[in-house]
């Protein structure tokens, strides 16, 4: 069976661009703290989601709704309403992380297809089977901590559809288990759906240099000849043991295109592109390129040479944790 191509959309325009460029399914979120890309100017109203589902369904594609932050104690309402509305608006699946919310969705909406978010960080077969057996989860998006060999074992053992990230930003940490952002800013992916939020970012010139700061901390210092990147905490330059480096991860993009044969052999069902915060031109370009590459791969089993350099962050790529040497 051909890989399913799962593409991001932060706006209705990006969703249409992804569908038009060949996405099999598009994932998006509501405009609030219930999803892990809760950025200003992004995401969908209820009405926009209804229109998006109609647009996708008319073209034989699917829409998944990410409700993948962890509901706040004493305030479950927004998360419950998000699940209820996704079901009412005929979303093809909801992507959840929280045990309590999965329980709610499975009980209230037994017909609703459940996917396990990467934010749940289910990293082994026992964890995946927990979600399968307890809530009827049909697909798991794997955290970016597994090698291709690990994935193969997990796929065979659980029988759950496996979706993996193949392109875009790369968390070097196990997703959903990281409080770095809230340590520096008080706001976290798990609670507020934001990582290294723009509200806490400052750029300060210092002589020829440009300092990028997050909260009270310097995340990077750029020379006059360096392009200044966004200060995502784990992509910063730090000093340890007297050495300065991109300690956690370089400003690289994940690109696992070369691993298509291995991912196919590992039983992976769907390939996911990161980037709900990206504009529609970026989405169109990446989705189109991946669509062509996947079609060519399905025809002859070979990975075609494709050019994604123009859109790759820092013009550098990595296959991330899928290869042991990354560790």
């Amino acid at each position: 069976m051909a890989f399913e191509l799962i593409c991001p959309a932060g706006t209705p325009a990006a969703l249409r661009a992804a569908v038009d460029a060949g996405a099999d399914a598009v994932y998006c979120g509501f405009r609030d703290e219930t999803n892990a890309r809760n950025f200003p100017g992004l995401n969908f109203s209820r009405e926009e989601l209804g229109e998006a589902v109609a647009y996708a369904h008319a073209r034989g594609r699917k829409v998944f709704v990410a409700i993948n932050t962890y509901p706040t104690a004493g305030n479950l309402g927004p998360w419950h309403r998000a699940v209820d509305d996704a079901a009412r608006l005929k979303a093809d699946a909801v992507i959840l992380a929280d045990l309590g919310l999965l329980d709610y969705a499975a009980t209230r909406h037994p017909e609703l297809r459940l996917h396990l978010s990467v934010q749940a960080s289910a990293a082994n077969a026992e964890a995946v089977k927990l979600f399968r057996d307890s809530f009827g989860v049909q697909r798991v998006v794997l955290p970016r901590v597994l090698t291709v060999a690990d994935i193969k074992g997990l796929t065979a053992e659980t029988g759950v559809e496996v979706e993996v990230f193949v392109f875009g930003g790369l968390c070097p940490m196990a997703e959903g288990r990281c409080s770095l952002s809230s340590y520096a800013t008080g706001l976290s992916p798990n609670k507020q759906g934001v990582c290294s939020p723009a509200s806490h970012v400052r750029y300060e010139p210092r002589g020829d240099e440009l300092i990028s700061r997050l909260g009270d901390f310097t995340i990077n210092v750029f020379g006059a000849d360096e392009p200044a990147g966004y200060p995502t905490l784990c992509k910063g330059r730090f000093a340890a043991d007297g050495r300065t480096s991109y300690l956690f991860e370089e400003p690289t993009s994940l690109n696992a295109l070369q691993l298509l044969p291995e991912l196919k052999a590992a039983g992976v069902h769907a390939l996911k592109i990161e980037g709900r915060q990206r504009g529609k031109a970026y989405i169109a370009s990446v989705v189109q390129t991946y669509r062509k590459a996947l079609d060519a791969f399905e025809r002859n089993g070979k990975v075609p040479n494709v050019d994604l350099d123009a859109v790759v962050e820092g013009a550098r790529e990595t296959a991330g944790a899928y290869q042991r040497s990354w560790r």
Binding site: Y70, T72, A73, A123, Y183, G186, N190, F238
Partner: protein
Amino acid sequence: MENRSLLTLGPVLFNWPVDQWRDFYARMADEAPLDVVYLGEVVCSKRAPFFEDAIPDVIERLTSAGKTVVLSSPILVTTDRERKAVRDLVEAGELGIEANDLGAVAQLAGRPHAVGPFVNVYNEATLGWLAARGATTVSLGAELPADSVGLLTKEATRLGMQTEVQVFGRVPLAISARCYHARVHGLHKDGCQFVCGQDHDGLGVETLDDQPFLAVNGLQTMSHTYLCLAAEISQLQRLGVSRFRLSPHTVDMVRVARGFRAVLDGALDGADLAAELTGLVTDAPLANGFFHDQPGAAYIGAHERMSA
């Protein structure tokens, strides 16, 4: 139901030489007023073989001293070998077990167990779901603010469970498949030469402006600051929290434990203990921001708390 506040000791998170590790627990057994001791290598499975042979003696020593020993499962479990280690832990069955990943949660269903701070419990629905499967205590993540701690504790009490809050030590902030200790030394996780063993409280990470920021501990990234909720103990007790967790460091943990025991018993003022710990922890400042819904790195003093 018992009202006495319990003082607990989380697992040693660092790669200490095994003799130092054994001596540490001997001293905890003999001198520290601890009720519960969590034991086990939770950060990196490559370290586990160093401690395997010493564990039975340490359990014996702690148990003889009247401490309840709970075995902690690893935070990140991906390989077949790591999965087998969790299975073995669950099947051994003599002692209580603290689940620190969802795979362990899955395998402990139907029997009483502890849920550790590395399992995401942010709301009462998740807490209730875990309780129905046998969880008797939940150690809350350090990221949770006071409001959430209060609501979760209220629900836990209603369900006959207990909540635990970390009150001392560097806060685990992230876990990765990648070893940052190895990376700092130009190595990979395979062939790491166990360089994490050089830093008994973690390896300091500074910003390019020389500001201390984080600490690296193998696969784990921690706060530079030491979490200290000494001044918040009476508030935590009022919220109904009954277990107070210390995380081991090379500072005099007997003194730390005695200080917290005294505050829990009302024999010492929390603010006085916080002042004492400021002098005792010489390699980093204290922090309590998460609890006060501020950046985790912040320290909110009594004055700010009053006006908040």
